[in-house]
């Protein structure tokens, strides 16, 4: 009885899922998004080293306004090499919080919200690294989590991927001093925190072995 009532309530709510990533995002945030402009403005994380904007360092503090402007473009991820195509059609993620403020965690979970519904793209979360295709690392380096991350990676079956999510994990952001992993990772999803659009697009590309 209970299930029938809730099922009907669910049906009445209608379809809420966007077509993204096969169409453009319906409501992308301005921050974070790709910044365009010129010059080397003041930046607390030195995101303009070498005169080019580095999305992996940007924390959306807006100090570079008006020299640089946000475009709304959510494609701010970086797949740095050849990603081995996953053997199965599904893509299982095991997230680990090394030292976050909590916002990266909640944005990652937002890909399960009906507007994004990651499961329609065969992207799922798993409770154990033993079933994971990708380890999603978030936050700054913390001593207490170093072993936990190493053990989770060890427990994963091959082929396995490591994804750095958010400025803290990619570059240290404003809180950390350096990237979470000394050698970095193959896939970087920029933003502080990255929006669900950016996360979903990067995961789909990683799953399909696209660069």
């Amino acid at each position: 009885m209970k299930n029938t009532i809730w099922f009907l309530k669910g049906i009445r709510n209608g379809r809420k899922t966007e077509k993204f990533p096969s169409t453009n995002p319906e409501e992308p945030p301005l921050w974070p998004s790709r910044l365009v402009g010129s010059g080397t403005p003041e930046c607390p994380t030195r995101a303009f080293d070498g005169g080019k904007w580095n999305s992996g360092k940007c924390i959306s503090c807006r100090l570079c306004l008006p020299d640089y402007q946000p475009t709304g473009d959510q494609s701010i991820h970086n797949i740095k090499g050849k990603v081995q195509k996953m053997l199965s059609r599904s893509f299982y993620l095991y997230p680990v919080d090394s030292g976050t403020c909590g916002a990266c965690n909640t944005e990652l979970l937002s890909i399960l919200a009906p507007q994004f519904d990651a499961s329609r793209l065969n992207i799922f979360f798993t409770n154990t690294p033993r079933h994971a295709d990708a380890l999603v690392l978030m936050g700054v380096y913390t001593q207490g989590m170093e072993q936990v991350i190493a053990k989770a990676y060890e427990a994963m079956p091959e082929p396995k991927l490591v994804i750095s999510l958010g400025a803290c994990a990619i570059s240290g952001g404003i809180i950390g001093k350096e990237p979470l992993l000394a050698r970095g990772s193959l896939i970087e999803i920029s933003g502080c925190p990255p929006s669900p659009y950016t996360i979903l697009e990067a995961l789909v590309r990683a799953k399909e072995g696209k660069t």
């Binding site: 909590g102 009906p114 207490g144 936990v148 809180i175």
Partner: protein
Amino acid sequence: MQYYKTTRGGGRYIGQTRNFTVYSDSIVPPIRVEKKPSEILPGELIFNYGPSTGGLIESVRIALPTPGEMIRSVAVDPAYKLRKLKLTGLSLFDAFMRVERINGYHSSSYQAAFIKAAEDALLIGDNRGIDDGLVLQMELERIRSHLNVLERLCEPAGFGVPYHQLAQMREEVARLISSIYGHRYFFGVHASLQSSPKISPGLTATANGLKKRFALLFESLQSSKIFVNRLQGTGKIEKPWLVGPVARAAGYRHDARTDSPSLNYEGYGFDPVVEDGKDAFARFLVRGNEILSSFAIVDQVISNGKPESAGLKDMHGTGIGASRVESPQGDLFCYLTLKDGMVENIEFCSPSISNIIAFELSMQGNIFTDFHFNWESFGIWISEAGVEIE
């Protein structure tokens, strides 16, 4: 400090910072309480949960010594993901960029506590536009945070439809926030006066539509016997030092929106939501009703207020300030010493510390199947408990 006394007054206990015991009207030297390590009794085992596992949003280790089904005691260790934030010696603005990331999910509350402590230190009088701006941020943040707790309560109960509908509403609030502030977590909002909130003409209708849909869902959940049974009687706690929704679910009217002068809620007709069940269900009721009361405040600010950004870049000076605001999980206190616009000392008392102690006490004598419901009903954020601020 214009409001806080340094001798013990009559106010309620809020918590501890590095150098102070904080009451609602005074700060005095700290009381050091040694936490005894939990012992194992004969025939017991320790069930360790975390620090990293699917059921937890953040990294935390929870140790549960148990003789079997019943949980005798609980110890929460937030130190696995301990972050160190050095704020002393930084300019107000540089410190602010880090402060808003102590708890990213409640960044507005940290922004408000910091800005109000800075205004107190620099003897800057209340500015209605800035206060309207902070109230709007904090009430939107409260709506999203409470939706998140309710959503997480539906998950272990296996209530898939309301779980997804609450997730949908939470995402809608994130988009509403993004449309006003340009960022889904309010980061960078007070960088300069250029980043003042943008209130679009359709905002009131969007917020009201969301409020109506939430009210219907909230009513349906309350009339679901299976859902109510899972929460009623779970994790009972009643202590005079409780803060936030946990206190209000135990019959206390503790709410910094009415008993702290830091942020002006006068004129919004606001009255704390109080329940007396003391359990996870009472905490669910408080949060659900607070979502509705926060929507009412948001409506008033959008219709009558002129929310502004604080423009921190333009604040300079020397002084000592303190503030206390109501974050979604309870009192958040900030103590700040400034010298020539640079931070000399900064201390926070975060509600998650109090809520962790309350959770530990409330779990005693409950059974394993209650664990998830009870944990989620406290809405604890490890990011603000596992952080060392210098």
